[in-house]
């Protein structure tokens, strides 16, 4: 079952990334413990060269993880045809107990990797490695998450059995299934629509304000995270219904299928990028007072805030187009 090009690519990528991270760990510990820019010792100069190599390697590792999420979801959707009862990615992810945990772990890795990449980017813009210790401590914190995500992915793919009868998205994302999804799918469309547009407007507005006046960076991150959560809820509550033109089909994965013109990618792509950029704005605020970063942080945060605002705007436009072009009428008048 694992001999699928996408699965091989994902497993190899997780293997390479985990291997590189494990190999980097002793170096990271050495850098955290012994870094001393004032020293001209041979060991220190060696560390200076190593950190350059290490941060390049890690940027590659985390960059790979950003793409891996897209491939993971795309692959899960594509493999649905191989399992009895599967209609979309949900069916594939429900073939065994590791599917959804693997997806959630991959999403977590996506955002953590994005934040680390932003911090690393800021650090490399200063001549005196001001965030060196911080970024390697963060790396050590990220390591177990990434290893867990890799492990879950391996368990998921290795446990895929073609003779398993899986359940489709209709059973998971319906108002009859107890749980949070039922609450969301049963949510009335009008309040959800208002919450959706309000959250995007607040996140975009705050990001634009930050871009203009370099204020409220943490609020940008908070509102971006909130916009992400509300948008995902909105997908369940009303956006997906308009895509399928069906009042009871709430699946957030079927929107990725070719049958629906891959509209989900146009919605999720900007949403994930915008959220990651918004979180990045918040992540660098703590370093705005570092002397060598006084001009770097506002510049980087400004660009990220601009990206976040534009991406949230795209999400709002895409969702609006879906609703406008749908023949389903959830709201009278």
């Amino acid at each position: 079952m694992i001999f699928q090009p996408a699965i091989i690519a994902l497993l190899l990528s997780s293997l390479v990334c985990s291997g590189l991270l494990l190999a980097a760990t002793p170096l990271a510990i050495d850098l955290i413990r012994h870094w001393d820019l004032g020293s001209g010792s041979e060991r220190q100069l060696l560390r200076e060269r190593r950190t350059y190599l290490l941060s390049t390697l890690l940027a590659f590792v985390f960059g790979t993880q950003l793409v891996a999420l897209l491939l993971f979801v795309f692959n899960a959707d594509r493999m649905a045809s191989l399992f009895v009862g599967a209609m979309c990615a949900v069916g594939t992810l429900q073939v065994n107990a590791f599917g959804f945990p693997a997806l959630l772990a991959q999403i977590l890795v996506f955002f953590l990797a994005a934040v680390w990449l932003v911090i690393n980017h800021v650090d490399t813009r200063a001549p005196d490695y001001p965030l060196l210790r911080i970024k390697y401590v963060l790396l050590l914190c990220l390591l177990p998450v990434l290893l867990a995500a890799s492990l879950l992915q391996w368990r998921f793919f290795l446990a895929l059995k073609a003779d398993v009868i899986t359940s489709c998205c209709g059973s998971l994302f319906s108002d009859a299934t107890p749980g949070v999804t039922a609450e969301l799918t049963a949510a009335p469309p009008l309040p959800m629509m208002l919450a959706f547009y309000l959250s995007l407007a607040l996140a975009s507005g705050c990001a634009l304000l930050h871009r203009r006046w370099q204020r409220a960076g943490y609020l940008v991150a908070l509102l971006s995270a909130a916009a992400f959560a509300v948008t995902m809820a909105a997908v369940l509550a009303f956006i997906s219904l308009h895509v399928y033109e069906h009042p009871h089909h709430h699946c957030p994965f079927c929107v990725l299928k070719p049958d629906y013109s891959y509209q989900g990618y146009a919605l999720y792509g900007p949403l994930f990028i915008g959220t990651a950029a918004g979180l990045g704005v918040g992540a660098v605020q703590a370093f705005a007072s570092v002397p060598s970063l006084r001009s770097v942080v506002p510049a980087v945060a400004g660009k990220l805030a601009g990206l976040a605002a534009s991406m949230f705007l795209v999400v709002a436009v895409v969702a609006s187009l879906i609703v406008i072009n749908s023949r389903l009428l959830l709201l009278e008048n």
């Binding site: 001209g40 010792s41 220190q44 100069l45 060269r49 350059y52 001549p127 490695y129």
Partner: protein, 232 residues
């Protein structure tokens, strides 16, 4: 201006062919002076010039430029310093064959992204100052040794660096051309530039042009002298 503290440089460290090119160099190079490094082949002159000019990193020790540590800078900042602070004249000139004299002169300025017309005017002005105006469109491989060196000097000056580094600049020149080179360097020194030379040519090192001579052997400084009658 430039300060070196305990500079060591080891090639192939830990291997059978390990070679210690520099062994604990401590040096202070004042601005607007002409300093010559003198020593036999293998004494570490070129390695030291490479480290000062940010072309190589020391194995240990620090290099400071205007009180700022530059030996530990990430590569992107080092490139900027190399580009704007140092002009290099190499022993073999290292000109790009197939390109004209003026194109060779302009090359180091391309990454800075300035206006091309202004750049061309500056290159031609430099070539004219070195009596090469009539050869500006000639491909460099067709120039004589002396002309090639003057093109190399013009190239070193295109970004208006405050420091000129010349490695064995008279090694491939006859006496007349060596004298011509020294006249050019003297002129540069008078414009307030710091000049660093490496040479074992007595004609150059013992000339009145040089303010300070540093003798090197086996990767160490063995003597420092300020010749009588030097400009400093």
């Amino acid at each position: 201006m430039i300060e070196l503290r305990q500079i060591h440089k080891t090639f192939n460290a830990g291997r059978e062919n390990e070679f210690r090119a520099l062994n604990g160099i401590d040096l202070h190079l004042p601005a607007e002076r002409v300093t010559a490094l003198r020593g036999p082949s293998g004494s570490g002159k070129t390695t030291l010039l490479s480290i000062i000019g940010c072309l190589a990193r020391p194995t240990s020790g620090r290099v400071r430029l205007h009180e700022r540590d530059i030996s530990g800078l990430p590569e992107r900042f080092l490139t900027e310093i190399r580009r704007c602070t140092f002009g290099f004249v190499f022993q073999q000139f290292n000109l790009i064959s197939g390109l004209s004299a003026s194109e060779n002169v302009m090359l180091p300025a391309y990454p800075l992204g300035g206006d091309r017309r202004a750049l061309l005017a500056r290159a031609e002005q430099l070539l004219a100052g070195l009596r090469l105006a009539h050869r500006r469109t000639t491909r460099v491989e067709l120039l004589s040794g002396g002309e090639q060196q003057r093109v190399a000097i013009a190239r070193a000056l295109i970004n208006e660096p405050p420091v000129i580094i010349a490695d064995e600049p008279t090694a491939n020149l006859d006496t007349a051309l060596a004298m011509e080179f020294m006249a050019i360097i003297e002129e540069l020194a008078h414009t307030g530039r710091t000049v660093l030379l490496s040479s074992h040519d007595p004609l150059l090192v013992e000339s009145s042009l040089v303010d300070r001579v540093i003798d090197m052997r086996d990767g160490r400084i063995v003597a420092t002298a300020e010749p009588a009658g030097s400009g400093g």
